[in-house]
């Protein structure tokens, strides 16, 4: 079959028609060097050079720092999950070995000795000048645990259900992300509608909305967190508010762009049936925008899980608080444990989010 096709012979005359210049340009494997190209290259180079200067990003600095990095990495292992007892098991599991995951002694074995405290209080009353109270709360690691190797063939008993100490904080982080994201979406929708060129009621409204959005987008989430910590106090609610407000500028822009991308023909077709503006919006604009808007919203959620991690650093709730605590106390192994749990949690969330995304698109 192939032989039957006419074979196109290259033009042997060597004469080049004038108009083939544009075509030739398309065939050029490397782009032509132009003045504009040189200027762009120069600008890019200057920007990067300037960036490297400003951030002190030099290979020599990095090489000199390698021993410090190694030292830090060594101190991260083995991870310590800071296991906290959450419930007594109805049975005891006997293991022929011991894995030291940083198990904290169950609370009941370190309960406050009421009698002893009463005795101390009496002593203080008798002699107030020497007031010191030992509550003997028995917090933290049982001393022996620290010295145990990560793994040994020593038999051990598990009497309680344990969870890594970071888990409640991870859960709080996810809660902050869920509520913050939802609020953010609800707040962004009206902005998105007003900022979409094709459905905004008036060009002035459109411009004004874009201005507000840009202003919000310019403020980092951490600043919002600080503001809301000041407003509603330390805790996860400040984090929720920071996420809710912080993402409006960004999300509203994405929503507006999704709305601007809809097929105007599908809108026109409904208008032609005599449908009102609002009806056209519900039956043509929303169905067209929904998949994209939903995908963006899920993306925001994934982003917010990470953002909520950072918010804890300024006291706005979440796992950031405990990460900071471990770092401040040089508990690098506990830090590693917490980071591992966090990575697992974030991976699971991303997977779920991906599933949902596939469903709706």
């Amino acid at each position: 079959m192939a032989q039957e096709l006419p074979i196109v012979k290259p033009d042997a005359t060597g004469a080049k028609p004038q108009q083939s210049a544009a075509r030739e340009d398309l065939l050029r494997p490397l782009p032509r060097i132009t003045a504009r190209g040189l200027i762009v290259a120069a600008v890019v180079f200057i920007v990067y050079w300037w960036g490297v200067q400003g951030t002190n990003a030099r290979p020599s600095e990095l090489i000199e720092g390698i021993p410090n990095i190694v030292n830090f990495l060594v101190r991260l292992v083995p991870p310590n999950f800071d296991m906290q007892p959450v419930a007594r098991l109805p049975f005891t599991i006997n293991l022929p070995f011991t894995i030291n995951l940083g198990i904290v002694a169950p609370a009941e074995e370190s309960q406050i000795d009421v009698e002893q405290i009463a005795r101390q209080l009496e002593a203080i009353q008798a002699d107030p000048s020497n007031a010191s109270l030992d509550l003997a709360l028995g917090d933290g690691l049982s001393e022996a645990q620290e010295d145990l190797p990560f793994f040994s063939w020593q038999p051990s008993q598990v009497t309680h259900l344990y969870l890594p100490g970071v888990v409640p904080y991870v859960i709080e982080t996810i809660q902050i992300a869920i509520i913050g994201t939802t609020l953010s979406i609800l707040l962004s929708i009206p902005f998105g509608l007003l900022a979409a060129r094709n459905i905004s009621p008036h060009p002035v409204v459109y411009q004004a909305t874009r201005l507000v959005m840009n202003a919000i987008r310019a403020v980092p989430e951490l600043i919002f967190a600080l503001v809301f910590v000041a407003a509603v106090g330390l805790g996860p609610f400040a984090g929720v508010l920071a996420l809710a407000i912080g993402a409006i500028g960004f999300m509203a822009k994405l929503y507006a762009e999704s709305i601007e991308q809809i097929d105007p023909q599908q809108v026109m077709a409904l208008r032609a049936t005599g449908a009102s503006g609002l009806q056209v919006f519900c039956f043509s604009v929303i169905p067209q925008v929904l998949p994209l808007a939903a995908a963006y919203s899920l993306q925001l959620f994934e982003h917010n899980v990470r953002a909520a991690t950072i918010l804890g650093l300024v006291g706005a709730g979440g796992v950031g608080f405990i990460l900071q605590k471990y770092m401040a106390l040089f508990q690098y192994r506990e830090l590693m444990g917490a980071v591992i749990i966090l990575i697992i949690a974030v991976t699971i969330i991303d997977r779920i989010s991906d599933r949902i995304r596939k469903r709706i698109i």
Binding site: A269, A272, T273
Partner: protein, 251 residues
């Protein structure tokens, strides 16, 4: 009084292009009319003027005695709901099921919150289902519109128009993106339902031979002017030259 009376319609687009120059014709209920003309002759423009999507610069469109060219957008809604419009690219809302798309033909009759949240009464659904049956598409009712084949999409859009219970059906090149076989099917469906309902159908179409077997009357448009208006059997080579080769005829 005619159902549709188009009088001296003239339309100049904002860019100065005069798409329609003095277009006049009358049409009665039950007529099936083909609108032919070369690309750019003004067929789409004319159809859009008839349901008020486009405002003419001069002249009038009178529907059942009402001058729609002077109506407010609000009044136009009531006129439009009795005018089915079928587009070349069907323009269904791709992500919605076929039935919902067809039901949107009822929106013009609804004004409350129910119309916004997609609540349609039993009798409204009855109209939609009946329309789907008439174009043999009921088995696709629950499918998303973007899953339909080209011919099915066009039949769904006929069903949407039928659900409006229209007195006039305007179709802008309804078969242009279909293969010849489907084109015949869709044209025959369209002509049949229009005839059954006694609606006036105005169908712009490029396949003159195809049109001939389904329509009673042909209006030929060239450069925004009606150059032929008569029964299908008067279409001869001379007329075709006037409609499609006016530039050569003049030269």
């Amino acid at each position: 009084m005619s159902l549709l009376d188009v009088r001296d319609l003239r339309l100049i687009y904002p860019n100065g292009h005069e798409a329609l120059k003095r277009v006049s014709f009358k049409a009665e209920a039950g007529e099936i009319i083909a609108l032919i003309g070369r690309s750019g002759a003004g067929k789409s423009t004319l159809l859009r003027c008839i349901n008020g999507l486009e405002r003419p610069t001069e002249g009038e469109v009178i529907l059942d005695g009402q001058v729609i060219t002077r109506m407010s957008e609000r009044q136009l809604r009531e006129v439009r709901r009795r005018i089915g419009f079928i587009w070349q690219e069907h323009n269904l809302v791709e992500r919605l099921p076929v039935l919902t798309n067809v039901l949107t033909g009822r929106l013009g009759y609804k004004s409350g919150l129910d119309g916004l949240i997609g609540y349609f009464t039993r009798s409204e659904r009855e109209v939609a289902v009946r329309s789907l049956e008439r174009v043999n598409l009921l088995h696709r009712a629950k499918q998303r519109a973007d899953r339909l084949s080209g011919g099915e999409k066009q039949r769904a859009s006929i069903a949407r128009a039928l659900t409006q219970q229209p007195r006039i059906i305007l179709a802008d090149e309804p078969v242009a993106s279909l293969d010849p076989e489907l084109a015949v099917q869709v044209m025959s469906d369209l002509a049949r339902v229009a005839r059954e309902d006694g609606a006036l159908a105005l169908i712009s179409i490029h396949q003159v031979e195809l049109a001939k077997s389904f329509v009673d009357r042909v209006i030929g448009l060239a450069q925004g002017v009606v150059v032929f208006d008569g029964p299908t059997d008067q279409l001869n080579q001379d007329v075709m030259d006037r409609v499609y080769r006016f530039d050569k005829v003049l030269a």
